[in-house]
């Protein structure tokens, strides 16, 4: 009954024998031991489990691990380069875009895709783009500000000031 599933997560190849019913999020959390991707609902509403699967953001609680066999996955743990945060991580920190932090990994992964598709979004476009991700702490106010701030830094041709490393 078990299937061998190989997934490259954040550049590292993982391969495990798993039950076919195993969800990608459980593969990431329990097999690969990367617990930054969270589970917040069972119905694909909250988006806390958002990861990138072959370049597309997906809710990893709605993908079977076997469907990701051979795929490239990026999780929140794959964004920072060494001790330098990704501009979205930096912006969420700078703009107080998180409180309890539980939705944050999924929120940042969703925001990453949003900015890749639309590098200069309006406030309304950001709000619509985040509809699949729920936050109960921030009222989204500072999440919107964080994404606006990151968009400025990430815009093509923007003068990229290296953020200070996390001490």
């Amino acid at each position: 009954m078990r299937r061998r599933v190989a997934v490259t997560i954040n550049g590292t190849k993982h391969e495990y024998e798993v039950e076919p019913r195993l969800l990608l999020v459980n593969y990431i959390r329990e097999q690969a031991g990367l617990t930054g991707t969270h589970v917040g609902c069972d119905t694909s509403n909250c988006g806390a489990c958002t990861v990138e699967l072959d370049g597309h953001s997906v809710k990893s609680c709605t993908v079977f691990a076997v469907q990701a066999d051979g795929a490239q996955v990026t999780t929140i743990e794959g964004l920072a380069k060494g001790s330098t945060l990704h501009p979205l991580q930096q912006a969420f920190w700078d703009e107080h875009g998180l409180q309890c932090g539980f939705c944050t990994p999924g929120m940042i992964m969703a925001a990453k895709q949003l900015l890749e598709r639309n590098p200069n979004p309006s406030e309304q476009e950001i709000r619509l783009g985040l509809e699949g991700n729920l936050c109960r702490c921030t009222g989204y106010h500072n999440i919107v500000k964080s994404i606006q701030a990151a968009a400025k830094v990430m815009a093509p041709g923007a003068e990229r000031k290296a953020p200070a490393p996390v001490s």
């Binding site: 617990t35 969270h38 069972d42 969420f92 409180q99 932090g101 109960r136 921030t138 009222g139 999440i143």
Partner: protein
């Protein structure tokens, strides 16, 4: 207070680098080897007798370690789950145990537990348990629950009534005699589901041969959980350690000692292995307590000039199936329903009723949102009835600055505040007069704008110990330990248990300010009962008013000791030495000084400190303030109603809040944003609905609508600062103010928008369907 460098600074949160990189540690992230997974089998019936539970087939399933029904665990509970007095010490509440024995009283109540090698194996085995029920009629309506022929949740009580209490002040009969205008109104506080994005979860590890228990729980109250696990399971409290690691939101929903905390610990003790239980959302919506669910009936006595003479509110509370730990805290709603206003008499009543629904308990605001909704709707009802502008009605009735400290008709004393100042500022920000002109213009074009006010005051900083002991049955205070290390770095331990509020940053600022130690050299620790004395944990917007001030006081004690050591090292008279910005020097000669870092070394080289002084630089504080704190403010919401669909769009949201001193304004604003959003959620979207069989129909995030980013506007915030006189930092609370204030602001705006249709009240949540029906109830004709 000394000149402040850190207090008032928007220091970026030190919690965040871990959390934005996915390296935070929530309960489900805790690595454990040889762990056993627990699945809780829950009642599918709202009200039934358990005739039998057959676990034989489950026990044979793959990976199963053990299966136990409630009856098989019964002998291990030394006490039921705790219930606090909370204003109603003599309420009826038959003991609530973590698991049902003979009878189930709500859908979701634990009935059996399965322990297995994986979560999936445990859930699969749970499906194989056969439970035979004898169904009983479910009790699902607050009012019908009190009918003589209603089915009874507890036969031994003879009715479904838990309590019926009165809180009154002033001559109510005289006030109603004097009234020129009387109004009666029913207001519904619908049932809400808190929905922290992280559900609950517990890992328990019992060590058989040392009789020691460690529990990691997604809780707001690790210290309370420690005490009660010790009491319920009969383990010495000194052998119990509870850790709240990173906690993914609470909003009151994690304020209780929960059945699953006891069951996980108990299973670990029986098996001698660590046990893990993680709540999924499907369980969370039923097994984690709900909020609100009250009916309020109010009679108002007023004069034609808008003066409110008296109110007579009755609060009917749906307790759900059991009296939850802080379930009657919601009665606070009656106690503070006088709001920011003077009146001659108040006649309040609270009635608590059992039903076959999930228990209700604290949910962000816990009583104050209900009180504020009541009194702020009262002000608008009086305005509508008398034809006076809602702003003027509020001004006429406000407690005036010269009345402070003002004592309410029920004997509560407000600490400070001039309520006209926040109102004026909010009116100016929203440009009230211009809005009224625009509203009139738009109405001519068939467009419906509305404006709603909420000039709230709330009680928090749950803290003077004597008052709390009398009212709640629990003394409450703030706790801190400040410990300066050999190298001059400091550790601060706090009794509060944050889950998103940023205490690690804010309290480092507080300690840094007093000690002159850089904020990055101060570590703030919390949420682990093994690291410090008892704490009172986090709820009721209490933390900064109590534990934050406790940090200040401990730091002051350390500062004083450091000053004495510094004087000794400088060979100066103690009385001549001053402590400033982390240095001690003789008054008038700051050039010759000694730093806190140098003093710290001496404090541990005890030969160098004054004779008779103990070594170390550490202080502990249990801070007991003289009064509660009373934040206040004015929120104004502007809405536009879509005449075609009945949909509400929030055009603007302006909030002016006074929470006293703001230690970290960025964090304060963040608390307000989230709070306002949650109050808007109640006004427009959220409602837990049960069907006639007692099944929760809004049992997932598909059906229970938590506001999304596109449902909300950006918020326009401003502040006034009236330091509280009851604590040294002058802080009040801000964790719940947004939720307390925003719901009536939104609803008053909607009712204002619908004024042309003769609408005087709209039931929450104000869905497009409800609004459309109100607009069309007379065939769409306007008044």
């Amino acid at each position: 207070m000394a000149i402040s460098q850190m207090v008032g600074a928007s220091v970026k949160r030190r919690e965040d680098p871990q959390l934005v990189t996915g390296t935070g540690r929530y309960v489900d992230d805790i690595p454990q080897t040889a762990i056993v997974h627990m699945h809780v089998v829950r009642s599918t019936e709202a009200h039934a007798r358990i005739l039998g539970i057959d676990t034989a087939r489950a026990k044979e399933a793959d990976g199963v370690v053990a299966v136990w029904s409630g009856k098989e665990l019964k002998s291990e509970f030394g006490a039921p789950l705790p219930v606090t007095d909370c204003f109603v010490p003599d309420k009826k509440h038959p003991g609530h145990y973590p698991i049902a024995f003979d009878k189930v009283r709500y859908v979701g109540e634990p009935v059996a537990i399965v322990l297995a090698s994986s979560r999936a194996a445990a859930e699969d085995a749970g499906e194989r348990i056969e439970i035979r029920y004898e169904s009983l009629p479910p009790v699902l309506d607050i009012e019908k629950a009190l009918d003589k022929d209603a089915a009874l949740l507890y036969d031994e009580l003879g009715s479904n009534l838990s309590y019926d209490v009165k809180f009154a002040g002033g001559d109510i009969e005289a006030a109603f005699k004097e009234a020129e205008v009387t109004i009666k109104q029913r207001l519904i506080q619908q049932r809400l589901i808190p929905i922290a994005i992280e559900g609950r979860g517990v890992v328990a590890e019992y060590k058989t041969f040392s009789n020691k228990l460690t529990v990691w729980s997604s809780t707001q109250i690790p210290h309370f959980v420690k005490v009660w696990l010790a009491v319920i399971l009969g383990i010495p409290e000194s052998n119990v350690r509870v850790v709240a690691p990173d906690v993914g939101g609470g909003f009151g929903s994690k304020i209780r000692v929960y059945p699953e905390e006891v069951l996980t610990a108990l299973a670990s003790r029986r098996l001698g292995r660590p046990v893990k239980w993680i709540e999924d959302r499907n369980e969370n919506v039923k097994a984690t307590h709900h909020g609100r669910d009250q009916i309020w009936d109010v009679e108002i006595a007023a004069k034609k000039d808008g003066t409110v003479l008296a109110i007579r509110p009755t609060q009917w509370l749906n307790l759900g199936a059991y009296c939850s730990q802080f379930g009657t805290f919601q009665v606070l709603g009656v106690l503070v329903a006088q709001g920011a206003y003077r009146m001659k008499a108040f006649d309040g009543r609270a009635v608590g009723v059992f039903t076959n629904m999930t228990p209700t308990d604290a949910y962000r605001g816990a009583g104050r949102p209900e009180a504020t909704y009541l009194i702020e709707r009262v002000m608008d009802l009086v305005a509508r009835e008398t034809g006076i502008d809602p702003v003027e009605v509020r001004r006429k009735n406000f407690v005036r600055a010269e009345d402070q400290p003002f004592t309410t008709l029920l004997g509560l004393t407000y600490d400070s505040g001039d309520y006209t100042v926040t109102l004026d500022k909010a009116l100016e920000l929203v440009d009230y007069k211009a809005f009224r002109r625009e509203q009139a213009e738009k109405r001519k074009q068939g467009k419906y704008l509305g404006i709603g006010l909420s000039t709230y005051i709330e009680i928090c900083g749950l803290g003077p110990a004597a008052t709390m002991q009398a009212a709640i049955g629990v003394s409450a205070w703030g706790m801190s330990v400040v410990n300066v290390h050999f190298t001059g770095k400091a550790t601060v331990i706090i009794g509060s248990s944050p889950h998103g509020q940023g205490h690690e940053t804010t309290y480092a600022q507080v300690a840094s300010d007093v000690l002159g130690i850089p904020v990055e050299d101060i570590d703030v620790q919390h949420g682990d009962t093994a690291i410090g004395p008892m704490g009172m944990d986090t709820y009721g917007s209490r933390s900064t008013a109590l534990d934050g001030n406790a940090v200040h006081i401990s730091a002051m004690k350390v500062q004083e000791k450091a000053r004495k050591i510094g004087a000794h090292l400088l060979e100066a008279a103690e009385g001549d030495a001053v402590y400033e910005n982390g240095k001690v020097f003789v008054k008038g000669t700051p050039s010759k000084s000694i730093t806190i870092q140098e003093i710290a070394v001496a404090a541990f080289q005890t030969a160098r400190i004054p004779k008779g002084m103990e070594g170390g630089l550490e202080a502990t504080t249990f801070f007991d303030p003289t009064n509660f704190v009373w934040p206040f403010g004015a929120h104004i919401c502007v809405v536009e109603i879509d005449a075609e669909t009945g949909g509400t769009r929030i055009v603007r949201y302006v909030a002016v809040d006074d929470c006293g001193t703001r230690i970290n304004p960025m964090v304060v604003d963040g608390q307000l944003h989230g709070g306002i959003a949650q109050g808007i959620g109640q006004a427009l979207f959220e409602e837990a609905i049960y069907d006639e069989a007692g099944q929760l129909r809004t049992g997932s995030l598909v059906d229970y609508l938590v506001p999304t980013a596109s449902d909300l506007p950006s918020f326009e915030l401003a502040a006034t600062i009236t330091p509280s006189p009851v604590n040294p930092l002058g802080t009040k609370g801000i964790g719940e103010a947004g939720t307390i204030a925003s719901t009536p602001a939104v609803m008053n705006a909607i009712v204002d928008a619908l004024e042309p249709f003769g609408v005087k009240d709209v039931a929450m949540p104000a869905t497009p369907q409800k609004i459309w029906q109100l607009m069309h109830r007379n065939g769409g004709t306007k008044r």
